[in-house]
């Protein structure tokens, strides 16, 4: 597939997808809370723009609603909620040390390769515009998971979780031009409720273990010695 032969629209979608993937990598190596939240917000913006672009070119007008929903929820509301929580919990200046950042980024790159490999048999069924998107969205999901695994702070884990949802949404929008509206609304509702519940949990966690360090949640064991 020669990139130059693609239409401008296809190239634009590819660029945006690549940028969304880049934000995932940025989050992976970002130890500070506030930049982490902002990067997450930018990922939401990129997704919203991509959705609007796909809606414009393909004429699937219902995707405009998805784009607005994404912008409102993932680029504005959830980052705002998290920002407010970070300030109220007084963790906004906290810098979480990241062990082996270069190794982590290499692992992230390996996950991207893995995603391309797994989606290879599927990609041939996709429209040419969206060939890369399935692999990219799967990478965003896996990178979100990697972020959750490598971090010890509850806030960073939540951002990993939300970024996974972003990847899923991206997959739905670009590879299939959006799920049926009712499903999309349901998913958006779930994500919003989850974001609010996470906020509740931060306070419960601080009240019970006096920290947002999930390493200190270690009382329950698989087997009792």
């Amino acid at each position: 597939m020669e990139l130059a032969q693609l239409s401008l629209f296809n190239q634009a979608v590819l660029v945006l997808a690549a940028l969304a993937l880049l934000t995932s990598f940025l989050m992976l190596a970002q130890g500070r809370k506030l930049p982490l939240i902002y990067t997450y917000g930018w990922q939401g913006v990129l997704l919203a723009v991509t959705t609007a672009l796909v809606a414009y070119v393909t004429g699937h007008t219902h995707l405009y609603i998805s784009a607005v929903l994404t912008l409102a929820l993932k680029a504005l509301l959830i980052p705002w909620l998290l920002h407010r929580l970070a300030v109220r919990l007084n963790v906004q200046r906290e810098n979480e040390p990241i062990a082996y950042p270069s190794l982590l980024l290499l692992a992230g790159a390996a996950l991207v390769v893995f995603s391309y490999y797994v989606s290879l048999p599927i990609v041939q069924f996709a429209a040419s515009a969206t060939r890369n998107i399935i692999a990219v969205s799967m990478s965003i999901v896996l990178l979100g998971m990697l972020l959750m695994i490598t971090r010890r702070r509850a806030m960073a884990q939540v951002i990993g979780f939300m970024s996974m949802e972003n990847g899923l949404f991206f997959a739905g929008v670009v590879s299939t031009y959006g799920m049926p509206m009712i499903v999309e609304l349901g998913i958006a509702f779930d994500v919003l409720v989850a974001a609010i519940l996470f906020g509740v949990f931060f306070f419960q966690m601080r009240a019970s273990i006096d920290s947002l360090d999930v390493d200190r949640l270690n009382r329950l064991r698989e087997v009792d010695e």
Partner: protein
């Protein structure tokens, strides 16, 4: 049709109602009445389906066939009996743990919320809405797991939230892939996630895409079923939440998650024309069955012990659905029913036992039969039933699964039998001192309503001796739907 809408609307109204009045003394009764009416409408629905066959609501939002209608009735029944148990139990907890009115409002409202999401997941015709409901079930119950706000409870709830959230996200990716495959063959986009449409065109769906979709869906819903190695949230959430929560999580949530998995398998089987989905389910099922049986031995917390027993039984069911033939499927459906009934009865009894002893630590629960015979005998009989002794229903279903295994995979009966023996030993080494041991000083009986427990155990016994004709016909219809032919 009215019955179907009522079954969904009653719990939905219950969420709102109890959000305002859930702290009153009467809230427990309101909860019982709501669950009771849901149960009655679900019976009405069952009769309608029994007479008229598969039911699709006018907007094709809801879809009821022989497979999910019996799970709807089972869900409503267990919810009713657990609500009856929850009323005096939670009053006791309010007094001893000083739960505030706000938390009781949350508890009662989310009890109905959980019921609503379960029933919505069962009755929906849309794979996407199924996902939304399953995620909704996590969201509804996660704050109930941390209801007591102890560090352990918060930890358990956080684990539950994160693990189930990540797990279920995989299921969403699977759903997207399924939609990706479906919208290529189904002309109307909005129809491409409807079960009834999907089943009609299963053979045209692209097998490579569906294989990948199934793997993601298996990981996603498998997390909720509690399949090893995705089970870590389950014992924590069961042991730290209030006991009525453990009863409905174990009796209902796991069933509904398995239901989703089986529905997807039916679709994938239609497309793949091979048994890949079945083999994956057999592998995960058998692994969960064996590992959970071993973990049973090492538990010190009574609720954790019984939640490992739940993992073990869910593993067995997943294995049986994986084998796939009519006999195994019939056995698995029966096992779903008897396990739900028995396990929720056990958790209710365990709740009382823990209140008597004032702790959940197995070593400190002693002499239950001497202190309060109804609780002690309830626990003993319940455990005998869940371990698969004849003449209880669990024996019959396990026997069916074993004979089906013997037919198609003879050498796998060996690990199954070994696993059953390990689990049996694990349960009884802990059970014996708890019910018979010496009574600690000053141990007093608590107020307990054991009627629902006895009723459920009697039903399990009945199912073990003779399955009533209408129920057998139901199971048979469901088996024909899933496995394609009748076992009888």
């Amino acid at each position: 049709m009215t019955a179907l809408w009522l079954t969904l609307l009653i719990p939905l109204a219950g969420i709102l109602l109890l959000a305002f009045v859930g702290h009153l003394r009467a809230a427990g009764w309101i909860n019982v009445v709501l669950s009771g009416s849901t149960f009655i409408t679900s019976l009405w629905l069952a009769l309608t389906v029994f007479d008229g066959g598969t039911l699709i609501s006018p907007g094709r939002m809801l879809y009821i066939d022989a497979f999910n209608v019996y799970l709807v009735v089972l869900t409503a029944l267990v919810s009713l009996t657990t609500a009856i148990f929850s009323r005096p139990y939670m009053r006791h907890e309010v007094e001893t743990r000083r739960l505030s009115g706000r938390r009781m409002r949350l508890y009662h409202s989310m009890y109905q919320g959980f019921m609503f999401t379960m029933l919505a997941a069962l009755t929906t015709n849309n794979v996407g809405i199924l996902w939304v409901s399953m995620e909704g079930a996590t969201l509804a119950t996660v704050l109930l797991v941390s209801l007591y706000r102890t560090p352990e409870a918060v930890e358990a709830a956080w684990k539950y939230f994160i693990l189930c959230g990540v797990g279920i996200a995989q299921a969403l990716f699977g759903t997207v892939l399924l939609f990706f495959a479906a919208e290529r063959v189904i002309p109307v986009r909005d129809d491409a996630l409807l079960w009834n449409v999907l089943y009609g065109s299963a053979s045209q769906l692209e097998p490579t895409v569906l294989t990948l979709a199934f793997v993601f869906l298996l990981v996603g819903y498998g997390t909720k079923v509690g399949l090893v190695p995705l089970h870590n949230w389950l014992p924590d959430a069961h042991s730290e939440g209030p006991t009525p929560m453990s009863a409905i999580l174990s009796g209902l949530l796991l069933n509904v998650a398995l239901y989703s998995l089986v529905r997807v398998k039916m679709l994938v089987d239609g497309s793949l024309q091979n048994n890949l989905a079945g083999h994956l389910m057999m592998g995960f099922g058998l692994l969960s069955f064996m590992v959970a049986g071993l973990f049973l031995h090492r538990q010190r917390d009574i609720k954790r012990m019984y939640s490992y027993s739940s993992i073990e039984h869910m593993g067995l069911m997943t294995f049986a659905f994986g084998i796939g033939g009519p006999l195994a499927t019939f056995g698995a459906l029966l096992h779903m029913t008897v396990h739900s009934l028995t396990k929720s009865a056990i958790f209710v009894t365990v709740g009382h036992a823990a209140q008597i002893a004032g702790t959940q630590t197995i070593d400190k629960i002693r002499g239950l039969i001497m202190t309060q015979p109804s609780v002690g005998w309830g626990l003993l009989i319940g455990t005998v039933a869940i371990a698969g002794f004849p003449p209880f229903g669990v024996f019959v279903s396990e026997f069916l699964v074993l004979s089906a295994t013997m037919k198609s995979w003879p050498w796998l009966t060996v690990p199954l039998l070994v696993g059953l023996a390990i689990a049996f030993a694990g349960l009884f080494r802990h059970l014996h001192p708890m019910v018979y041991g010496e009574v600690p000083e000053g141990q007093k009986p608590v107020r307990a309503n054991m009627l629902p427990v006895m009723l459920q155990l009697a039903m399990v016994l009945w199912l073990g001796i003779a399955i009533p004709v209408f129920l057998a016909k139901w199971f048979e219809q469901a088996t024909i739907l899933i496995a394609g032919s009748s076992p009888l």
